[in-house]
Subunit: 351 residues, 4 copies
Amino acid sequence: MPSPEKVSVAVIGASGYTGVELARLLSIHPLARLVAVTSRQYAGQRMATVFPSLHDICDLSFEESDIASICGRAEIIFTAVPHKTAMLVASEILAAGRKLIDLSADFRLRDAAVYEQWYEPHSAAEYLTEAVYGLPELYREEIKKARLIANPGCYPTSIILGLAPLLRAGIIDATTIIADSKSGTSGAGRGAVISSLYCEVADGFRPYKVGGSHRHIPEIEQELGQLHGGAVTITFTPHLLPISRGILSTIYARLKKEVSAEQIAELYTAMYGEERFVRLLAPGTIPATQYVRGSNYCDIGFALDRHTGRIIVMTAIDNIVKGASGQAIQNMNLLCGFPEQTALTAPAFFP
Amino acid sequence: MPSPEKVSVAVIGASGYTGVELARLLSIHPLARLVAVTSRQYAGQRMATVFPSLHDICDLSFEESDIASICGRAEIIFTAVPHKTAMLVASEILAAGRKLIDLSADFRLRDAAVYEQWYEPHSAAEYLTEAVYGLPELYREEIKKARLIANPGCYPTSIILGLAPLLRAGIIDATTIIADSKSGTSGAGRGAVISSLYCEVADGFRPYKVGGSHRHIPEIEQELGQLHGGAVTITFTPHLLPISRGILSTIYARLKKEVSAEQIAELYTAMYGEERFVRLLAPGTIPATQYVRGSNYCDIGFALDRHTGRIIVMTAIDNIVKGASGQAIQNMNLLCGFPEQTALTAPAFFP
Amino acid sequence: MPSPEKVSVAVIGASGYTGVELARLLSIHPLARLVAVTSRQYAGQRMATVFPSLHDICDLSFEESDIASICGRAEIIFTAVPHKTAMLVASEILAAGRKLIDLSADFRLRDAAVYEQWYEPHSAAEYLTEAVYGLPELYREEIKKARLIANPGCYPTSIILGLAPLLRAGIIDATTIIADSKSGTSGAGRGAVISSLYCEVADGFRPYKVGGSHRHIPEIEQELGQLHGGAVTITFTPHLLPISRGILSTIYARLKKEVSAEQIAELYTAMYGEERFVRLLAPGTIPATQYVRGSNYCDIGFALDRHTGRIIVMTAIDNIVKGASGQAIQNMNLLCGFPEQTALTAPAFFP
Amino acid sequence: MPSPEKVSVAVIGASGYTGVELARLLSIHPLARLVAVTSRQYAGQRMATVFPSLHDICDLSFEESDIASICGRAEIIFTAVPHKTAMLVASEILAAGRKLIDLSADFRLRDAAVYEQWYEPHSAAEYLTEAVYGLPELYREEIKKARLIANPGCYPTSIILGLAPLLRAGIIDATTIIADSKSGTSGAGRGAVISSLYCEVADGFRPYKVGGSHRHIPEIEQELGQLHGGAVTITFTPHLLPISRGILSTIYARLKKEVSAEQIAELYTAMYGEERFVRLLAPGTIPATQYVRGSNYCDIGFALDRHTGRIIVMTAIDNIVKGASGQAIQNMNLLCGFPEQTALTAPAFFP
């Protein structure tokens, strides 16, 4: 039985990289207790056998995903599963009075038609308007009251946080946004596919899904449109980095008029000055993934290219912390009324 | 003494990564013989002691850079030195009737004022108009007749080759060009600096010289301007990749009008169809640095983003082969009347 | 002023990798406060500027190393400096009534003659007998009472912990010990030297100091001799791994007589069963550096080679946590009467 | 049709890393022509689509493995398939008068009983005595006359070449041999398995198959026994390195009596002085995988540990060149009467 003062949580689909990261973060959470982890592939095996990093830390065994059983034990349920899975279980979880934090894309898009255009038919579209987009820097108050949180995608987190102050202030031409993003390989998941093999990725670099085909585009455009107050279309190019953790987005836009670096800095400070997990770097300091590795920070820097009238915004996050599991814990903290930074204060490990 | 049928060559500044790569490529060149390598730092030591990869392959020892002595032994001289060094020796080398292939930036800019704006006073500006920009795909005939070849920069090679057919055809808006480039760490040279240490670079990724400050910009704009027939200004962001070799440039521009992928492909084929070292990838195939590693190829792919009216061009080269030493050998081959691909036909090594 | 209930600590030589790791761990330590960091190279600069991972986490600036001033502010002083430096300041620190945890080799060898044979003349030899070798699993009670703690070397930690139960039990032939150890590059420090450059280390692997020349040998032999109850000589070969963090030691010895895997497991359990930071892996599970990365664990596994009558012991640590800064904090906790695991409970980050 | 002066070759199982490496090396072989590549998985696809590094270099498409058809087109056939496959086709290939170079383990062990103890029942045991172990430095004359060559394993190549001069000279105690070997991940093949994923391997290091269980042990012991003139048993520990290419073996043995470094060097020179692909490093120089990367060299160094009476031999090879495909080409050259180094003279690429 969970101790009375701790919230009990379960992770459905805990054998991927976001699942093991949730277990890592929950193990140091003083106010939560992990009570169940599911995995079809490893059901019956101890989680610490599959992930020896959790030896002596997590003594749970993977179980099959029996929603009724899990709802009987856990108050908060994380779904860390491929898209289309969470929509099948959301109704039962919510009906049982449990709260759901979904790390997949199933509830991120408010418009079912958009979801169905990019993914496939949605079987729980009735929850799309209720679901809260779990980016605390934008939706903190809504998150606190939500039953169903759609945890943002990793690329969207890095791009939306980078552009929000500029779009709100209306100082960039929203038709000129280009996001050139680079992600570590953990973003490709733990599936056994040739394209994720060490020898295919190491000592190499490549773009993928170029030309407007990545499924994070509608999510990014939805949120940028909210900030802009009107439709936004962007060019987005993801790339695969030979690192395990980290996303760095280099984002370009044309300035509508000349502004000073100080004015830009003020916009960012106004929006993020009190944020615990957004760090505005000093002028001249440039974000790097190695400085956020393992932490829940989003580091932001920018430069003005006077020559061409553009601003270049750079953001760095750890894709499986702020880009996934850390942000999910941040959302859980808000949902439960815990201090927002609980279990998330560890600095990045460098080197 | 060199055998009569081989051209004798020397490398000034041979203890950097481009120097050892020149030695590697020259060792398999059937028509050239490396007769001297200089290095202030390692003078007196065998090159194969400093670079054990050359054990049994190169039996030269590093010597101090005595230009007169070197001109007495070598017909072709490569300078693989930091900028400002080649300009000090060019006059003596040319006066001795030797040919100079300079891998630094000293003779790449035709306009001394531009050089001096980005670098420092130029002490051999009288050679700037004579120097030929050593990009064979653009200046093959001039290279064959040159005395002084300015071997292109690594980033410029990747960007100019990617954009040339589009600019010549006039189908992109030249004010909208953004080049987001990522380079392996060998591009930072072999200097003992903290920022190039393994622990600072590995498992990380970062931009640098953001906002129009990288010295390759005037070189890129010079050549793009030539192709465009008018001034071009670009936004260029270099990034440091945790790989040893490779540059991948992701280049964005707005199309002036709607064109089909077939039409774009035809432009590239028309320009590069006969080129030995430019490979146009099949539609849907995306360049990756791991597929050009160790080779002299420039791989080019593109995608159309219908959504935003942009074209995204992607190019991949090995920064110390096609981006430096391989291209220098290609230039030497042209200069000497050798088959252009001599010593450069090895496929990339993958994995 | 430090809050009254926290111990104040200073790090002398805080701009290396062990220094920044001490700062990382101290930032999450609820019972300690970092009050001063010194660095000759960076004096006057903010630590978070040099190490952006500490942005918003550490607001100290590096200062010159003024021992009197530091002793006026800190109760516990860590020296994370090259050997020969700590011996110059130990006397002043101890005379001021402060406690010293030295991460260098200066106080690890009890016999000054041995030190001087492997290093150079020792200027504070009078402290050698007082200094406690800071391996808590062997010297916990002595550490609690010490003024001067010699924090163990990274390789010695991995080898001594691996062999201790076997030597104590007297079941291996002590003349047959071979330790083949592999270390991540952070072990080479943050010095700007060519041999530590990314391009020299990445995608490569090499032994170094082969044949009995590494300075950790006398330290290892001293402690193994203590455990064995008589002189022990070993063959030790260090290797450089293309990873940032981690040491894996593969240790070979001949068994004096046939023993079962169960008997061996019992020896390890008897010695380490209650240890918080030694994890005995299940039979068949093999240690790997990636499962201790960023944590203070030492993972131990073993295999019996029936074919040759040998036992193979494998240990994995993070060289800058359990191999340096984490162990130093563990020692500090013991010294201060804090729970031994304070600030050290974070699981390894995987991936 | 192959040109009359070139030998026609086929690769059965060409979609693994040794297959693509054979294609790379054959593409620069002036006396051989690759006429067929088979792959069940990719049948019908162009090899250059699967491996874009071969774009413009290899225009073959993968085909199903129809032995009769292949024997009709190729004079030399390489089998780069898992063990148990070559034994099924050997008879047909040899009966057709073709020569077979098998890169698997099927014909390496002369004793069928040993094979069956470590692998499974052998269906073509009648060829085991005829097959020649394809290590040219030991069996050059036999290779020239062979019909069936068993290309050595990667680990065995690195260990046998390292120990041969010492065993022949009888100066080491053959009961004390320990080989601690470390291999790049390409040695694990191109199978889509979780343990070979980038995130599982990168920034990590681990032993595997510890304690006498790796299937290369009988192959190593067979050849060491031949050299020793009597049975040899060894302890062998393989490890997985986070690099793509390379094996480094650190080999330990006790010297029977005191010998000088000069005497040892003489033994190596006597055996390998004329060998094109074995490089004896200068005293004090230590092998490293990065100096043989992409080349067919085996680099050898040694150190004497006076302290313990042991010799430590270190060897470095590229596991898919000298450890597999390069050695197979070397064998083909011998078989065909070509100069042994044909297509194999490229230096290692460093960095």
